[in-house]
């Protein structure tokens, strides 16, 4: 059988990649997708632990995470669309009004 720690490692790698994507890319939608990747990595970890401890709670959490992620994506994309309408761009480097 696969040692459950391998799953941990995979989850860590995916999470790190997702974080890297957030920090590097300039396209807002790509960044969003990287966030989804991070969430996914977390889900994987949850399920792995649920399997390890044979507790179904882990999977229940994943269920909720997926539901919330869906809601969050909807709203987030709506925001991006709204921003696009004014700024005519989704390059986050152009959204620097907070510059002080």
């Amino acid at each position: 059988m696969v040692p459950v720690s391998y799953y941990f490692a995979l989850s860590a790698i995916l999470f790190a990649l997702g974080a890297l994507g957030v920090l590097i890319r300039r396209n807002a939608i790509i960044i969003f997708m990287s966030v989804e990747l991070m969430l996914n990595a977390a889900n994987l970890l949850f399920v792995a632990f649920a399997r390890m401890y044979e507790a179904l709670q882990g999977q229940i959490y994943v269920f909720f995470v997926i539901a919330v992620a869906a809601a969050e994506v909807a709203v987030g994309l709506a925001i991006i669309v709204a921003i696009f309408r004014t700024k005519k761009s989704i390059d986050i480097d152009e959204m620097s009004s907070l510059k002080g």
């Binding site: 059988m1 696969v2 040692p3 459950v4 720690s5 941990f8 490692a9 995979l10 860590a12 790698i13 995916l14 790190a16 990649l17 974080a19 890297l20 920090l23 590097i24 300039r26 396209n27 939608i29 790509i30 969003f32 997708m33 990287s34 989804e36 996914n40 889900n43 994987l44 399920v47 792995a48 649920a50 399997r51 390890m52 044979e54 179904l56 709670q57 999977q59 229940i60 994943v62 269920f63 909720f64 997926i66 539901a67 919330v68 992620a69 869906a70 809601a71 969050e72 994506v73 909807a74 709203v75 994309l77 709506a78 669309v81 709204a82 696009f84 309408r85 989704i90 390059d91 480097d93």
Partner: protein
Amino acid sequence: MSIDLLLFFVLATVAVIAALGMLFSRNAVYSALFLILNFATVAVFFLLLGAPFIAMAQVTVYAGAIMVLFLFVIMLLGAERVEGRHRGGWQRPVAVLLTIVLLVESGYLIFVRSDLVGAVAPVASNYASPEAIGELLFSDYLLPFEITSVLLLAAMVGVIVLTKEEKLLREHTDVMENGKEEARSPQGAGGK
């Protein structure tokens, strides 16, 4: 090498490559597609980990709904390509560095500090069946379940409000002004 291990490594490689592809792709649509591949791989992992319901939910909701939504928005905004150099050249190397540090830390945690190096026991076939999940969902976690529905409603309302066209607001304003004109003079509203 058992078949499980082999399968795991293959799938893991695919998942990581898909993630990298998503990261470094110039075309946003390609990134989305890579991400869908990633999700699918992870769904298989879920199956391997004995969570069939979750695997299906992942495919259906994540890959099926969320990513489709992503693609819709990408198409809508025409964000296939993003050109130009990025400012702040120091950002990239630092980010990479930090990621490596994180990986090192995680690795340390997982392999050096933990004692979970071993296989897991097999489980029954109906270990995480929909019935089991449903049972748990509707007894212990009934409240979060219901609140999630409210959450989804809120998200819907929010989306609608955020994406409302400004044109509608302008029409509203016109009506208001016309109303004022009507109050001042009995003549009906003139041209627009």
